[in-house]
């Protein structure tokens, strides 16, 4: 569904180049990147490049999986059978996206179980947007419109990421993602145009609660982003946080006008000279608080994932045990 363009890993230290051979490999690697070439799984790559990608791809994967929860919340309460089907299909896609991303990360020499372990122990991050609660049905529409909208904006540039398995996963994901945003917008549009006053108020309330967290999805301001320069050099990050965020605001404000909802930002104003919308200050204290584990739903989200995993251990073990028994039988035959 999206990736939070933020890298809060420890500052990596560049190891001293060990040999002339390694220096040559690195030179060729850099040249290929500069030439807009692709790096595949078995190609030589700097250790730092590998680690950065494992962290970014797995964070992205974790976000998809955790992202299934706030929407999963409303499956049993969807207001029509059609909306129930749409929501199930969307959440299922998100599970699938997580799966493609774990698969891409695994090409870098790490196993899915290791990555899940990092998530469940609290070591790995996932996008903070999913630490907010889904309080009404309108939240589901707004998530599709704003959160998936922001995700798409983050994700399209990644289809040209230098690491090809990640780029290919992103192509698959982007193809499926536009349905996610469209269904959300459609759900809101029906409520706004044909619905009751109570429904319209529900939509506006959801917009009020999800607008600012959606802007935070693009990560901290460029000036404060520690790893952007290196990621840009390596063809992993192609557009800056602030540029993506501005693009998002420009597109979304117009969509809000079509819907007939008000963006909860009194400072939002078109700037003729910049050719963009000016918008109000983001509460970065809230962002860091939520990223740091103190959002409304952090504990619940993680607990739900840990429980699902722990409760499923006997299932996974049984399937493996059965497979091993069958293999032994086959050998003996």
């Amino acid at each position: 569904m999206y990736t939070q363009a933020m890298d809060t890993g420890p500052k990596e230290e560049r190891k001293a180049i060990r040999s002339a051979e390694e220096a040559e490999l690195e030179r060729r690697f850099d040249a290929r990147i500069d030439d807009a070439g692709f790096i595949e799984a078995k190609d030589w790559m700097p250790e730092h490049y590998r680690r950065t990608l494992v962290r970014q791809i797995s964070q992205h994967a974790h976000s998809e999986i955790v992202g299934m929860l706030p929407e999963g919340n409303w499956v049993t309460r969807a207001p029509t059978l059609k909306r129930k089907c749409i929501l199930l299909a969307k959440i299922q896609d998100e599970g699938g996206h997580g799966l493609y991303l774990y698969a891409a990360a695994e090409t870098l020499g790490v196993s899915r179980d290791e990555l899940l372990d990092a998530l469940h122990s609290g070591k790995a991050k996932y996008s903070s947007i999913f630490n907010y609660p889904t309080l009404t049905w309108a939240d589901i529409g707004v998530i599709g419109w704003l959160v998936d909208g922001a995700a798409i904006m983050n994700q399209v540039p990644l289809t040209r990421c230098s690491y090809a398995p990640y780029a290919r996963a992103m192509v698959r994901i982007c193809r499926e993602e536009s349905f996610h945003q469209r269904q959300g917008f459609d759900a809101l549009n029906v409520m706004m145009r044909e619905g009751t006053d109570a429904q319209r108020a529900m939509v506006q309330d959801a917009v009020n609660r999800w607008w600012w967290p959606s802007l935070m999805m693009f990560g901290p301001p460029d000036a404060e982003s520690t790893h952007s320069a290196q990621s840009a050099r390596w063809g992993i990050k192609r557009i800056s946080n602030d540029d993506l965020r501005q693009k998002f605001v420009d597109a979304t404000v117009q969509q809000a006008q079509v819907l007939g909802v008000t963006v909860p930002d009194p400072l939002l104003k078109w700037s003729e000279e910049r050719g963009h919308f000016d918008y109000g200050p983001i509460d970065w204290a809230e962002f860091w608080r939520v990223v740091g584990g103190n959002g409304p739903c952090n504990r619940e989200r993680l607990a739900a994932r840990v429980k699902a995993w722990d409760d499923g251990a006997w299932v996974r073990d049984a399937a493996l045990a059965h497979a091993r028994k069958q293999a032994i039988k086959k050998e003996a035959a």
Partner: protein, 267 residues
Amino acid sequence: MTTSSIAVSNSLHVRYILRLADTCLIHAQRLGEWCGHGPVLEEDIALTNLSLDLLGQARALLTHAGALDGQGHDEDRLAFLRDERDYLNLTLVEQPMRRDSAHSPGGDFADAVVRNLLVAAWLRLHWQRLVESHDGELAAIAAKSLKEARYHVEHAAQWAVRLGDGTEESARRMRAALEKAWIYVPELFADDDADAHAAAAGLGPRRSALRDAWREQISAVLAEARLAMPADGPWVSTGSRGVHSEHMGFILAEMQFLQRSHPEGRW
């Protein structure tokens, strides 16, 4: 402001279809609880596909039942606005699957697998015969649903074998799940007026006519899974007559709440 329940006619033809529709609907509702909570990502996706298939079947059947009923009720009015007593699903599909319900603790994945196996086999036997129904629309729905049902049975059977013949723990859980579910099995084959009418009118099979084939199929899977088939108990549950278990009220309260609280709502 809330919406009053709608009334549905007593036509036996309609009731026969609603029994199938509601069984698919409520089974899908329980399966939907697993979305985001499955034992492994691949299976999470698979369970959701099952739910989507069943919802598709429910929608087609409800739309048809509404048309036959002739009061202008569409799939949503029927799904969301009937009184509990007018839902005709098997009691089996109301039972807790993942989450706690009423006074009962939640179930586990073994409950899901057993439920899927028993219900999918029951549905598939229906679809196989319903392709010949004198009700042309029902026959068409059956033809489409049969393809899906084949996969549902296959999927459930594969899991039943892996869990039944996996580890000590998985076998224990499967045995427990079978014992719990079997209480509701007699109802799967207990005829009522709608069954009598269906047989007489060439609409579809009586439930009792499916019993032997069903037992044979389930036996085969359980044997491969090294699990014993429980004995039928003396009690016949009555969800298909509208008198449900304590769990149905909670399912409906959750499912119906938005429609009930926004009577003129558009979604």
